[in-house]
């Protein structure tokens, strides 16, 4: 239990916004003159209208808005035993965020280097993996969308869809079978006489980074393919007739056209990478730095949910910042990214 005023704001705030928009819509309709557009209930009939309102209300409020707002509020509370929550000790505090920065809830003299470092590594590597995925997928996406015959495209698509649905835990496990100290790659290298001692791919983070690249490859492929597919081939031919070299065509004709697809793939890959949990848990060595396992440990080892909520929000802000950055850079709208 927390402060009744915030609870009121969390629950009644969104309702007030909805009510305001509903009334505004009604006023505007009335101003436009009667008979232009029927109202919501009139248009759908009462039973359907009630179904729509209940369903969307439940989804948007109870599944999306309330839990998120509640988590924000939660992250500004100290960790307390259940009986003390809502009591005089349950004050608003920044201590969970302070812990992220300084590794202590009070002392601000040292930086919390482990967590900060893990956070930056996560963001930086996720960006690199996003770029790598784009580079790996682009040739095939272009080939399928513009060069290949429909029959071949259909077959390739089927080949891509099968691994698309494989669970990320299994993908991580596959890379562990491949790259463990007793794994396939080490056995092959030792068998070939190239190395004497097995290479510790897990400890060197090579396993994690390649596992992540692998896991979200197809997330990039499909939006990219869809975007390039609708490009009129005449544009490419025109550019070629005008003497553009092949890399000019890709850089200045195909890629600008495929911008929404690139933006969509990039946001999703980045978000999934930065929020990946299975791969770092399974492929991480003892010294691996990744942010999500730290969030996970706040809950399952430190049992400090308030701090976990704060860490989750830090991760969420990073993802939101990335989405906004991509929207700016590529000049695309949200509806083009989420399809």
């Amino acid at each position: 239990m927390t402060n009744p005023i915030t609870i009121g704001a969390i629950f009644l705030g969104p309702l007030a916004v909805i009510l305001f928009l509903f009334l505004a819509a009604g006023v505007e309709r009335r101003r436009a003159g009667a008979g232009v557009e029927p109202g919501f209930f009139q248009r759908n009939g009462a039973p359907v209208a009630i179904f729509l309102l209940v369903a969307v209300g439940f989804w948007a409020l109870f599944l999306i808005v309330f839990p998120q707002l509640y988590m924000i509020d939660y992250s500004f509370h100290p960790r307390l035993p259940q009986v003390k929550r809502g009591g005089p000790d349950d004050v608003y505090t920044l201590e969970n965020y302070r812990y992220f920065l300084f590794g202590s809830t009070r002392d601000a003299s040292h930086w919390n280097t482990t967590h900060l470092h893990a956070f930056w590594i996560t963001i930086f590597v996720s960006v690199l993996i996003t770029i790598a995925n784009f580079a790996i997928c682009y040739p095939l996406a272009y080939f399928m969308a513009q060069v290949a015959k429909p029959r071949l495209v259909l077959r390739l698509m089927l080949l891509l869809i099968v691994p698309y649905w494989i669970n990320e835990v299994l993908r991580a496990f596959a890379f562990r079978v491949l790259m463990g100290t007793g794994g396939v790659i080490n056995n092959v290298l030792i068998g070939a006489g190239l190395i004497r001692e097995p290479v510790d791919f897990l400890g060197l983070d090579i396993a994690l980074y390649s596992g992540l690249t692998y896991a979200y490859l197809l997330i990039m492929m499909f939006p990219l393919y869809n975007a390039i597919e609708s490009l009129d081939r005449h544009q490419i031919e025109a550019a070629r007739d005008l003497g553009a070299p092949w890399w000019h065509i890709h850089l200045f004709v195909v890629m600008p056209y495929a911008k929404p697809g690139i933006a969509s793939g990039a946001t999703l890959v980045f978000m999934l990478c930065a929020g990946a949990l299975a791969a770092p848990l399974i492929l991480g060595g003892p010294k691996t730095l990744w942010f999500t396992p730290i969030v996970y440990d706040r809950f399952f080892q430190a049992f400090n949910w308030q701090q976990g909520a704060a860490y989750a929000l830090i991760l969420l802000s990073a993802c939101m910042a990335f989405v906004l950055l991509v929207m700016r850079l590529f000049r695309v709208s949200l509806s083009e990214i989420a399809r």
């Binding site: 759908n44 669970n167 079978v177 399974i282």
Partner: protein
């Protein structure tokens, strides 16, 4: 001429690399399930065995996880498909000035990391069930269903939206002129029109739920699904039994995905035949 050959060669090389990268790890992992050594090993094959599958069936956690995964999958389909449908219909009717805002709210779960959805679901419902005295509802199966439905409903909505773009409101008006009620229009015209999308949404919802880990691992509380059992096994240590489990999961999802593709393409062809004029 020779430069063309070089291009072709490079393209072929890229194809081999790409599909090798895509399938290699899965094939090697699956092969280990049929090999006798007790550490997952694809090569050398020391003997073919089904022992690891037998071990799996005897494992109570795996069976319980599988059961829960199917249960949650069914619940998620039953919840997300109607929610996504309602979300899409409201999108077409919502007050024009609020549309961008509404879109932002309902699409945000697609762009939110799964761990965060799991965390917020647990934190929120733990306190809500406590205030309302309904602690028995604070249950892993229920929370996993709610958490997963948060973003799966958005996937379903996007599927419905793309189908609704081709919806012709003239049919609706004709039915109304002929004296049909609004509810009849919804049930007899809109729903049949959306049937392929309902099918797609249901399959996608089930598959996504079945393979989800990030949201589920938080929301499942003390319960388990097949994916969480799998993840904890992998963290405990490597045995070929995990490979065997992987083979089973791959079989289930791949069968689902391929059936879905076949049904969908058959439907597309039928649609194309019905409208030869395009």
């Amino acid at each position: 001429m020779s430069s063309r050959l070089v291009w072709r060669f490079m393209l072929g090389f890229y194809f081999v690399l790409f599909f090798g990268f895509l399938f290699g790890p899965l094939v090697i992992m699956s092969a280990a399930a049929f090999n006798t050594p007790s550490y997952p090993q694809a090569w050398p094959i020391e003997g073919l065995t089904l022992e690891w599958f037998a071990k799996l069936i005897a494992d109570r956690n795996v069976v319980e996880g599988l059961h829960n995964s199917f249960l949650i999958g069914a619940f998620v389909v039953a919840l997300s498909v109607p929610l996504g449908l309602a979300g899409a219909i409201v999108m077409t009717q919502v007050y024009a000035r609020a549309r961008g805002f509404y879109y932002l709210v309902v699409v945000s779960p697609v762009l939110t990391p799964g761990v965060i959805i799991g965390i917020s679901t647990v934190i929120f419902w733990k306190d809500v069930t406590q205030w309302t005295g309904a602690q028995s509802l604070f249950n892993g199966i229920l929370l996993a269903t709610l958490g997963q439905s948060t973003f799966i409903s958005a996937y379903c909505m996007l599927i419905f939206l793309s189908r609704l773009q081709r919806y012709d409101r003239v049919q609706e008006e004709a039915a109304l002129d002929l004296g049909a009620s609004r509810t009849q229009v919804f049930v007899d015209i809109l729903l049949p029109f959306l049937r392929p999308a309902i099918f797609s949404a249901a399959v996608i919802a089930f598959l996504t739920s079945f393979e989800n880990y990030n949201t589920t691992t938080f929301a499942i509380l003390a319960n388990k699904t097949l994916t969480t059992v799998l993840a904890s096994r992998v963290r405990q240590g490597m045995t070929p039994a995990i490979s065997a489990l992987a083979v089973i999961i791959i079989a289930i999802t791949v069968t689902g995905a391929i059936t879905y593709e076949i049904v969908k393409s058959a439907e597309l062809r039928r649609d194309a035949k019905l409208r030869p004029a395009g």
